[in-house]
Amino acid sequence: MKKFILKSVFFIAPFLLMYLLNVIYYYPIEGDLARIGYLYSKKGATEDAFKDLYIEKKYTTFSELNLNTKNNFDILTIGDSFSEQEAKGYNNFLANNFSVLHMDRFLSENPIQKLIELINGDFFHMNQFNYVILQSAERLFVQRTENIELSKITDIQTLKYSIANRTNSFSKLSSSFFSDATLKIPLTNLQYLIYDKPTFSKTYNVKTNGNNLFTGKKNNLLFFEDDLKFLVHKNDSSRISKSNVLINRISQLLEEKNIKLLLLISPDKYDLYYPYIKNKDKFKTPLFFNYYNDLSKDYLYINSIEILRNELNVNKNVYYFNSTHWSPIGAKAISLEINSILMN
């Protein structure tokens, strides 16, 4: 019996132990970088710095709206996950001074294409705005402006149908015992002791020379592998200037409806924190904002990277440590800048 139990334990215990470690230290609902990087983290790490703050969402989302009546708002925001941070998002800070409607992300996978479709349809007849804030993550911006269908239409009916038939498409990491995650999570965390980016991880973990970037993390930076991979688009000056041509065109279309366009590009964590990365030999210089900021624009533009870099000089946690997203500190700084532009 003893021999049997010992042998069984030999085969089973390591896997149970790994699973238990994962249950205790891996939080898939915490920051996206920790999730896709299979990183162990402390429960509540993402939110610790902002506990109990900003809990009330003040802006309206389109899917909550009564679509049978005409609606008036100061601002329409349309964008990706940076625009869906609920109470901690830049649009919620704006909602202190303006009435804000946000176009749900599930209705606008590519916000740039969707904005064009809304302009072509009856959306802006039924809903009135003074400003549209078009937001996009930097790494996706150039691609989102390519292969655009300028004549495509989305009308209110189509939006109503999409809202009624909404499905939850979040990919779920299996939490079952017999799952590749049971092996990958501990293996990845071991590899992090040696490598910046382990085999199965999509998150880089690099040393920085700044000591005050994140609470409790002396000199580490996490960023998404696509921030680096997409440099091929992000550093291509000719493609960047073509993107700007399209945004100018969208601005003209909105002007015809007496609406002003404001473009907000959310910097990739890699670009924002690049000056702080200790060993730059392995990492190319990001040039996107150098090119984009210099282009001639017929629309309102937020120089987000400059605002956030200034913020880095005075505050920790401008972005969340284990997420690709800015924190309420970053979001607030951005919203203050938008506020001042719109007020003038």
């Binding site: 019996m1 021999k3 049997f4 042998k7 069984s8 085969f11 089973i12 896997f15 149970l16 699973y19 299996s174 079952s176 015992f177 017999f178 799952s179 590749d180 995650a181 049971t182 092996l183």
Partner: protein, 482 residues
Amino acid sequence: MLFNSLDFAIFLPIVFLLYWFVFNKSLKLQNALIVVASYTFYGWWDWRFLALILFSTIVDYSIGVALSKGKNQLKRKILLWVSILINLGFLGFFKYYNFFLDNFIEAFSLFGTKIQANTLNIILPVGISFYTFQTLSYTIDVYRQNLKPTKDFIAFSAFVSFFPQLVAGPIERATNLLPQFYKKRVFKYNKAVDGMRQILWGLFKKIVIADNCAQYANIIFNNSDDYSGSTLVLGALFFTFQIYGDFSGYSDIAIGTSRLFGFDLKQNFAFPYFSRDIAEFWRRWHISLSTWFRDYLYIPLGGSRGPKWNQVRNVFIIFIVSGFWHGANWTFIVWGALNAIYFLPILLSGKNRNNLDVIAQEKYLPNLKELGSMLVTFSLTVFAWIFFRAENMEHALSYTFRIFSKSLLNYPVFEKDDSAKLILLLIVLFIIIEWLGRRHKYAIEQLGSNWNSMFRYTMYLIIILLLFWFGGNDQQFIYFQF
């Protein structure tokens, strides 16, 4: 509680340790522990239906006792029918009520009569088809005086609810399992190790083969109108391995778990896809159900004796009832009928007992004739599975018609076909291992038995790693719904 869940991974060692270290002083206590553990295991899914198992246990125990006292043949017959009606009554209500009601309404509407009747929102209790047949076998065997009725209620409760095989079989006969509850069980190292090995192989079949095949089978069957004939064939193949891996995997885990507690359950699958004809297939597929129907339905009807017409009738009855046992849907009935059609020519030509041994018994590989007959039998089986898997008859027929179209010659293409290639490779590896182990009770029973223990342990470790690597696509055990 699912065999492939963490809950079971915690539950099993606890019960094992209590069984061998705390309750080992008394047989009664060990049996009582099995009852408590079994009710916990079942109640984990839905405790409300425990009352049904308990009721079934009390009825058949009492009838068994009454049968032993009764000398009057008529009275004994009445008691037997009371048991049959109660057991099949529950099964009929929970499983077939809505099916019969819908079909009556539809049948009457064909003659212009509209019947107002509402179907009920009935939850099918997991495992009801299995434990109902198990308790019925007890009453019938006691009635036939093949078995002495038990006076030990705890042992009988343990027999009815024995957790390893409660929800999806094997359907054990009282003559085999019940006496094991009367004897003191002694822990045997080799038996326990063999049990663990069979559990490991069962998990591999379920998690690596069945659950991964299910992903692709589901995509192809659920969108069958969008795919070419060749892709639909691939879908049917995926389902063929899904159902085998799923059900025989469950049986392996059940048998292996029972061995940890000192019990021997009967083999439920004996490498059915290596069968040379359909009669052999049915001797190797879901053996506990096939033999149940053989002993309690086919033989009482006359079996293969008597006029040809009676033989044909009996074959159709047994296969259609077997199909209907799987579920209240015409697709299962047609699946059963198809198998009857496959089986009849063999029976009528007297060749149904031609292949009683193992294919290529003394050889590594089959000869051409064996290979040919194996491939024909396999193809017939795959075709029949289409009806088993389809949502309804319309779906089954459209699926079949699409297969037999020009697109059958196209290269199969479907969403996720890249990752499917890896699973196809795993299936090939699986077939090779099953082939090598076909002379044994399960494929890896003797695999590596002559090797240095280091190599053998490495093999087990690789299988365990595969469980994790290809795991995570959890699917409900198919036979839970039956």
